[in-house]
Symmetry: C2
Subunit: 217 residues, 2 copies
DNA sequence: GTCTATATAATGATAGAC
DNA sequence: GTCTATCATTATATAGAC
């Protein structure tokens, strides 16, 4: 909490956060330096290298997201966490950076996926306890599956929108939700199979009977 | 079908296909030229520019994939199409390029997503006719939702694997399938909600009653 | 068609004055 | 801490000989 935190170093990090989110991680140091109103050399002086700058951005976002009180995920999926981060307050550019980071990959991406998986698991288990969500054979695998699938879906939509032009996250989330809610509710309510033949066959193959157990030949 | 097709031009395109897939689209012309055993200038001579080279790769893959007889998608999802392309025969590097292209975005990506969405729709409708798949309120939206979600999920796994090291597609597909089959079958068989409250509420809000219709004030 | 040699532009990073 | 000036590298693309 040094007072220098409000100075050039923080200004550079903020500018980088925005530039990385808007133009991708291939953007040059000169553009960031120009946005921050400093010289390119000062960036290197403060962060060591471009990777150091990105690492500082990652750490900052990771810290804020981790310590943020997020509502339960609910049936909308983990993209609600991002939408919540993006919505309204001054964390909007953090959300933009988080989404860009998820789309581009890198160290922060895995952390965010894990974080959302955990939140999804908690939400699902709460639903199970309440009786609104069906129990699962493997709750952890289900939470990871649902989280990664809906996140991957969102990132596909994000990339698609980005290729058309600058992305407004609020618009993106709204349009994506509109496309997804119907089919998702349908799927989550009744599945797509008319009977449980596939699942029963899979369970029969993966959960060995008492007779099969201990027979390794 | 000119005989020159077997010469340097084709060799460059093949080398580019492999390099783009393995190292991403940021790879330099020098690396591709070296692989093809030609000078960088010859690449520009034949393809005009680096983008021209990529466009030629896109077109080649697009053409092969479009004219390929692919089995129906089935419950495994659209990644089966890619796994089928990758498996066995000499199209393996085309599949690698297709996956890399899907992961990185660009013009080919949208074409492939559309293609797989159509295949998924056909497969689902066949299942509906057979009685194994439940009918949908909006079959087109459902096919797109399922295709994009499972593709997005696969691409997340692909990127994750790539960041660890070189990717063998067959291994990737196998591991991803192993992680996904259980939760997917569970979801596709019975959903995750214990009752249809959410869906009924959504349907009530989006399908206006006879009384509501025509009332736009 | 294919090459060597080069032009031109942009990058990340450094040196050293202030 | 912050700057100017510059270096070294790499990139795509071009010019022109053969």
């Amino acid at each position: 909490m040094r007072s220098t935190d409000l100075s050039a170093r923080a200004r550079i990090r903020e500018a980088a956060l925005v530039r990385f989110a808007e133009d991708g991680f291939d953007v040059g140091l000169r553009a960031i330096a120009s946005d921050a109103g400093v010289s390119p050399a000062l960036i290197v002086h403060h962060f060591g290298s471009k990777d150091g700058l990105r690492a500082a951005c990652d750490e900052h976002v990771s810290e804020v997201v981790t310590h943020l009180k997020l509502d339960s995920v609910g049936p909308g999926g983990p993209e609600q966490m991002l939408a919540q981060l993006a919505g309204g307050d001054e964390h909007a550019h953090l959300a933009a950076y988080a989404v860009a980071s998820l789309a581009a990959g890198g160290p922060l991406a895995r952390r965010l996926v894990d974080l959302m998986t955990r939140a999804t698991l908690e939400s699902l288990e709460a639903g199970v306890a309440q009786g609104t969500i069906r129990p699962s054979r493997d709750p952890g695998a289900r939470a990871r599956y649902l989280t990664e699938a809906s996140l991957g879906h969102l990132l596909l939509a994000y990339r698609h929108a980005r290729e058309a032009g600058p992305v407004d996250l609020a618009t993106l989330f709204a349009q994506h939700a509109a496309n997804v809610v119907g089919p998702a509710l349908e799927l989550f309510t009744a599945g797509i199979f008319t009977d449980d033949g596939y699942l029963r066959a899979y369970e029969a193959a993966t959960t060995p009977t008492a007779h099969d157990q201990g027979d390794e030949s």
